[in-house]
């Protein structure tokens, strides 16, 4: 092996190392996930408006990627339909969440909109609306298929037939993503729903990719080491 070949190998090796080091910081940072209550700043707002909207607003529309993923669409649907009962963080109908409704609306049952004697446009609501996100949430379901079946047949509470099939998959995908049991790039459907278990976190690509890049760097270093040793011995 002549000096020119060795030079090329070193150059390629350094390139590999650079690539590996470039991948480390960019992938180690957690990917931006759209949240239910993200701070939004609508275009065309004036400065005072901007100051107001920069404060944390729990009712803002979630920010989603473009084009939106299935789970992103679920996040928007959740914000539109599910949020009043299940909360901005999926915490359920807690007292703290009902405070957000304001003094007149916060007691759903005494106001009679959702009590036993509700008007026609209202509906009866259970006193305990379970959380759908968090450590204790969704414990009764084994996998995404079971969760989807309930969402598709029983939600929204007041009119189960309101949600179409596509929307029920979107909402299920959103809940799974937020629970960390389904990677964001997956499209949930009838075929793969049974494999996503609600108590088994999905491995994080953000953790696995940098380690893989580091192994590639190590292999390149090993190649350079062997070549250098060989050259030194034969010179």
């Amino acid at each position: 092996m002549n000096r020119k070949s060795l030079g090329w190998i070193i150059l390629i090796g350094l390139g590999g190392l650079l690539l590996a080091s470039d991948l480390l910081p960019s992938t180690a940072a957690p990917a931006a996930q759209p949240t239910i209550a993200a701070t939004a700043t609508p275009a065309g707002t004036t400065v005072p408006d901007l100051i107001l909207t920069l404060t944390y607003n729990r009712l803002d529309k979630p920010r989603v990627s473009n084009p939106p993923t299935q789970a992103d669409k679920g996040a928007v649907y959740y914000w539109l339909v599910c949020i009043p009962c299940h909360g901005d963080k999926g915490q359920g109908l807690t007292e703290e969440w009902r405070e957000v409704f304001g003094p007149e609306e916060k007691n759903c049952w005494q106001a009679e909109c959702h009590g036993k004697r509700h008007p026609d446009e209202g509906f009866e609501l259970p006193h305990a609306v379970p959380p759908v996100l968090g450590l204790t949430a969704l414990g009764r379901f084994n996998n995404a298929d079971e969760l989807h079946r309930l969402i598709a047949t029983s939600m929204p509470w007041y009119r189960p037939s309101y949600m179409n099939a596509e929307e029920s998959w979107q909402v299920t995908a959103f809940l799974l993503r937020q629970q960390g049991v389904m990677p964001p790039q997956v499209a949930l459907n009838e075929g793969n729903a049974p494999i996503f278990r609600l108590r088994t976190p999905a491995p994080s690509l953000e953790e696995e990719r940098p380690l893989t890049a580091a192994v590639i760097g190590l292999l390149v270093v090993a190649v350079l080491g062997v070549v250098w040793h060989y050259r030194r011995r034969t010179m």
Partner: protein
């Protein structure tokens, strides 16, 4: 005490002519192909722990491996890229052998063995491609298996044998899985062992007569092989990291995609089929090409 000869020592004699080990003569393509096959076996075994060859679970189990098993995406990615690389390297190896005249006597038998191996590699790639069982494989599987029906007399029987019935079903996955992980893979493993055994048996790598008696030792040969394997491993990992293989939703065969698409190594057959009937274009021409390569060694 005489040292016991092993297969390794047969492949790595105490010394070999330096010209045989020149990278710019062989590009290490044969060795690279063997390494890729070993990688394919290793990653394939890991994939077998999760893959379920059934209509309901084939695609879901690949999704499970890809999205839920720690580093499963990497195992699948390396398997995929090693498979694609093996087809490319096998073809380049064939071209190198043709261009350097290495197919001639006394290496004629090894040339024939090599052609059979190329066919096996392509069949392994196709059966592996089908095992994903997503919407992308639907056309390829239907067109590929329907080609068999165009063979006179035995066509229908052959079709039934390959797909496991009168139409594509869950049995088809089991058939393809069996051929992929055992039938074809076992034949290929034996043929590869025989192929590399014959390289030394036939007098080593074919080169023009050496002008100098310069030789390299076994240690030097092994060191070069290790460097090449490490580099290839790095390339495979990098490809799996940057270009993960695609995976669509489960194929249902009830509503086929609008456009037919073959895997890249069969694009040429797909184009041939657009120009004419299934039997001559889809079977006779490809088989004819293999026959031409087989008789090449005898004719020139």
């Amino acid at each position: 005490m005489a040292r016991r000869s092993t297969f390794f020592h047969h492949l790595h004699p105490p010394t070999i002519p330096r010209r045989e080990a020149r990278f710019r003569y062989t590009f290490g393509l044969g060795g690279a192909a063997v390494f890729l096959f070993v990688v394919l076996v290793a990653t394939g075994v890991l994939e077998m722990f999760y893959y379920v060859p059934s209509l309901e679970r084939a695609n879901a189990s690949v999704q499970l491996l890809t999205f839920l098993v720690p580093y499963g995406w990497l195992v699948r990615g390396v398997h995929y890229w090693a498979a694609q690389g093996l087809v490319v390297i096998a073809v380049l190896h064939l071209l190198r052998v043709v261009l350097t005249g290495a197919y001639k006597t006394p290496r004629r038998f090894n040339w024939l063995l090599g052609i059979c191996l190329l066919v096996l590699v392509v069949l392994l790639d196709f059966t592996g491609y089908v095992l994903r069982w997503d919407t992308d494989i639907e056309w390829a599987l239907l067109v590929g298996t329907n080609l068999l029906k165009s063979i006179p007399v035995i066509g229908d029987a052959l079709y039934g044998l390959v797909v496991g019935g009168s139409e594509v079903s869950g049995d088809t996955i089991v058939r393809f899985y069996g051929w992929h992980v055992f039938g074809l893979a076992l034949i290929a493993a034996v043929a590869i062992g025989w192929h590399i055994f014959r390289v030394r048996r036939d007098g080593g790598i074919s080169t023009p007569e050496p002008r100098t008696p310069d030789r390299i030792t076994r240690d030097d040969l092994v060191r070069r092989e290790v460097v090449a394997m490490l580099m290839l491993a790095a390339v495979l990992l990098l490809l799996a990291l940057v270009f993960p293989p695609e995976l669509g939703p489960a194929g249902e065969f009830s509503q086929l995609p609008d456009t037919a698409s073959a895997p890249w190594f069969f694009i040429w057959v797909q184009q041939l089929l657009r120009w004419g009937d299934a039997l001559p274009m889809g079977l006779l021409i490809p088989i004819g090409l293999v026959v031409v390569l087989e008789v090449l060694a005898k004719s020139f």
